[in-house]
């Protein structure tokens, strides 16, 4: 009846370099009233599928080459523009990823939520506003009476996403397309939004196509899961069944290679492992090696004492305490994980330790030497020993330098290696160490994939032979399969070079996987600090507890 059937859908992109088969002959059904999760990594074609449904793709370059999408007895792919306009926002609504950029900053939130009703001529102006208020209440936007005339910038990220949901659901659509609706949100907010979305759609009776790269999130919300890989559907099943007994090696890999809260691998399995041998089984629960006892000298190898970083807000003159009297210590050769939500000051802390952000007060003791107040030019020797790897490997490489130049430059500045030949040899061995080839030397950053670029960033950080590396959300922007590779690489390097990491992330699972100790940050302060296992298994504060509870659990991953 009201099922949505996607049958043989083919969407190709005609680019100058040739035809990209973004979606190549896929079939699936969205049963009425159910939540279907569409999962895949970047480039798998999940978003293209989602946009094809509403004919929202730019044509050209995109072109639907075949197939049909049956919605209420009609083929959406062949519907006229006029017909599509009556469907969009009324029978089929969409929620986008970024709540910051999807609301018009010049319209009040209420107006925008009411707009779909007015556009489709469903009710009068006053009635629409009333219904919008009602809907905003239902999605949990608080104090709505006081916010009658509020503009989007007066809402927090979570509230904006709630407003987006209200806008999508106000027409009581039959189908809701949600394209990564929680990816830009903090975990605690994400958990609430997921719950809300599921509950509301059940009340209204909408079905949802939930697109996400995150299996954990999908497991939380979806009744059925469709997994896409390189434009094809590789497996689809009910959520329970898919997680309990995945059949396709890629799906197995996808489930296994993301660090889970319960998992305890030292080396994460990767997609290659599964793809190469069909019968690959990751080693179970290999316990982390019992580390050698740390000597007293190494214990306080890097010590942060009462560190504060305050910012003056330009237009209000208010002081923002981004980091507020933080005290920490990191033993040599270990990893300290810093977890926190956006705005908790974790990134500022990492940068302040490296002196990339001016410190307001406090000490950073590096082997008993305070480097917090040195003049910038006195830092040269420390710069060499402390490095940073950033979140976005696209932005952190100079697009106009070849890899060779990028890796040679730090050695040149720090006078490492006697002559050009010697330095070049080191560059080659660095590349091999991070898993790239010497034939890549003359290429520019844009010729590499995201994972490869992050490897280059790692190589650059290693080029000065550092002892301490700050990893600032360095795997957050990556697909899980790439994330596993980079995490494994970091782990290997730590063992081989006795490196010390400060690993900053919003993702507790990742931090738990890699860190020996964890500090939970909130509003510029350390909420909790201790051994990784202790923090995760036995959180002491309610905030940490809430963080733990918000993590999407794939505890149904019984097989591994």
């Amino acid at each position: 009846m009201n099922d949505v059937k996607v049958h043989g859908l083919k969407t190709f992109f005609h680019t100058r370099e040739g035809v990209v088969k973004a979606v190549n002959d896929i079939n699936f059904t969205i049963p009425s009233g159910e939540v279907v999760g569409l999962v895949g990594e970047s480039g798998s074609g999940k978003s293209v599928t989602c946009h094809s449904l509403l004919q929202l793709l730019p044509t050209p370059p995109a072109k639907v080459e075949g197939g049909e999408i049956i919605f209420q007895g009609e083929d959406l792919l062949r519907a006229s523009d006029q017909k599509m306009r009556t469907l969009r926002g009324k029978s089929i609504s969409m929620i986008f990823q970024d709540p910051m950029s999807c609301l018009n900053p010049y319209m009040t939130v209420i107006e925008q939520v009411a707009e779909p009703l007015l556009i489709h001529g469903m009710v009068s102006q006053d009635k629409a506003k009333e219904e919008a208020m009602d809907m905003l209440l239902r999605v949990g936007v608080d104090k709505i009476k006081d916010r009658m005339n509020a503009y989007p910038h007066e809402f927090s990220g979570g509230m904006r996403q709630r407003a987006m949901i209200a806008m999508a659901l106000i027409t009581k659509p039959d189908l809701l397309l949600a394209d990564e609706p929680t990816t830009a949100l903090d975990v605690t907010v994400q958990a609430k939004i997921l719950k809300l979305l599921k509950q509301l759609c059940a009340e209204i009776g909408s079905s949802i196509l939930f697109v996400s790269h995150d299996l954990g999130v999908v497991a939380e919300i979806a009744d059925r899961v469709v997994v896409m890989y390189r434009g094809k559907v590789v497996e689809q099943n009910t959520t329970q069944e898919l997680f309990r007994s995945p059949t396709h090696p890629y799906v197995k890999a996808l489930i296994a290679c993301r660090p889970t809260f319960e998992g305890n691998f030292e080396i994460l399995p990767t997609v290659e492992d599964f793809m190469e041998s069909q019968s690959y089984i990751p080693q179970k629960k290999k316990l982390k090696e019992q580390s050698n006892p740390i000597t007293e000298k190494d214990k306080n190898w890097l010590k942060v004492e009462e560190l504060s970083v305050h910012f003056q807000q330009a237009n209000h003159g208010k002081t923002v305490k981004a980091v507020d009297r933080v005290t920490l210590s990191i033993p040599k050769g270990k990893t300290l994980g810093i977890v926190g939500e956006s705005g908790s000051g974790k990134t500022t802390l990492g940068r302040a330790i490296l002196r990339l952000t001016p410190i307001t007060s406090g000490k950073v003791r590096w082997q008993d030497q305070d480097i917090a107040l040195d003049k910038e030019n006195g830092l040269m020797n420390f710069r060499k020993k402390m490095q940073i790897i950033f979140q976005d490997p696209y932005a952190s490489l100079n697009p106009r330098l070849t890899i060779e130049q990028t890796l040679l430059e730090p050695m040149l500045v720090h006078k490492i290696g006697g002559n050009h030949k010697e330095r070049l040899d080191r560059v080659v061995s660095l590349l091999e160490e991070v898993g790239l080839e010497s034939s890549h030397l003359r290429r520019y950053p844009h010729e590499f994939s995201g994972g490869q670029r992050q490897r280059i960033c790692v190589a650059r950080a290693l080029s000065t032979e550092p002892e301490f590396i700050v990893c600032d959300e360095c795997v957050s922007a990556m697909d899980v399969s790439v994330q596993a590779q980079v995490l494994n690489l970091l782990h290997q390097l730590q063992k081989a070079r006795n490196l010390t990491y400060l690993f900053i992330s919003h993702d507790l699972c990742v931090v738990k996987h890699i860190a020996d100790e964890i500090a939970v940050m909130r509003a510029g302060q350390i909420e909790e600090f201790g051994k990784a296992e202790n923090i995760c298994l036995n959180p002491q504060t309610s905030y940490t507890q809430e963080l733990m509870d918000s993590i999407p659990r794939t505890s149904i991953t019984g097989t591994f």
Partner: protein, 286 residues
């Protein structure tokens, strides 16, 4: 070491530029125009300021290839002579404005804060000075001098260049690769010249190719006011002005200098586009 790197970037860029047909053809045409301006007069038996009142307003013919003007001066000689002045003004003034504007804008954008505010307010003040009065003032103070023309034009054109450079630098400064460079302990000058400047090349080159024609037009306007090139000397700008007045009597007077002027502008634009693409590693298709 860094010379070697520079060489390889320039070599890559040259290879890419060569494969851009439009840019290559433009380069050749521009080379022909330049050589026409500098060696053209040797092939002509008339001098640019040689008057012959018996031969006023002759159309193009065997003696006078481009015809003659109201005083019977040979237009071929005048056009090629005028090319020297126009091209020289165009390129020199643009270079001057590039050098001042880019370094000024880069410093303002990179240092930021109060320095930025002060430097940019100075630019605003200079913007508000009326150009003609500024030039007349210069002329009064230093006497009429051809070099002053470069100086005056350069002094005005660098302002926009500084603003563009500053805005781009502000954006780049926050890029993570600049922060990575700081974390690696690179000096400020290295970051500025090795990391920021190459990434500014695109907008700078495009704007520079727009500046050259703008400067040539400005020179024509100054000449018209009697502040620039004076008769019997000529530039393309002044020739076009003259030709425009006599268009109904002698259309060739505007046609020939006009063709040269337009051709060089087209060429410069194509070369500019080609250079921008050639210097951007992302545009290569291999």
């Amino acid at each position: 070491m860094s010379e070697a790197q520079g060489a390889s970037l320039a070599k890559d860029a040259w290879i890419r530029l060569r494969s851009n047909r439009m840019a290559l053809v433009s380069l050749i045409i521009l080379a022909i125009i330049v050589s026409f301006s500098f060696i053209g007069p040797f092939f002509c038996e008339y001098k640019y300021d040689e008057q012959n009142l018996d031969e006023q307003f002759l159309g193009p013919n065997q003696q006078h290839w481009f015809g003659t003007d109201s005083l019977g001066r040979d237009l071929f000689a005048r056009t090629s002579y005028g090319g020297r002045i126009s091209l020289a003004v165009g390129f020199l003034a643009t270079t001057v404005s590039l050098l001042i504007g880019v370094s000024y804008g880069m410093v303002a954008g990179y240092v930021g804060g109060k320095t930025d505010a002060i430097l940019m307010r100075i630019v605003d003040i200079l913007y508000s000075l009326p150009f003609t009065i500024f030039v007349i003032l210069l002329m009064v103070l230093f006497g009429r001098n051809f070099l002053l023309l470069f100086l005056a034009i350069g002094a005005v054109e660098w302002l926009t260049m500084a603003r563009i450079t500053r805005a781009q630098t502000l954006n780049l400064k926050r890029a993570e690769f600049i922060e990575a460079a700081r974390a690696l302990g690179f000096s400020h000058s290295r970051i500025l010249f090795h990391h920021i400047l190459p990434n500014l090349l695109g907008p700078i080159i495009v704007y520079a190719t727009l500046t050259v024609p703008a400067v040539m037009l400005l020179e024509a306007a100054l000449s018209f006011l009697g502040l620039g090139v004076q008769a019997p000397m000529a530039s393309w700008g002044s020739l076009i002005k003259e030709g425009a007045e006599k268009m109904d009597v002698a259309p060739w007077l505007i046609t020939f200098p006009g063709i040269f002027f337009c051709l060089s502008l087209f060429c410069l634009n194509f070369i500019g586009d080609g250079l921008r693409d050639a210097l951007d590693p992302k545009s290569s298709k291999d």
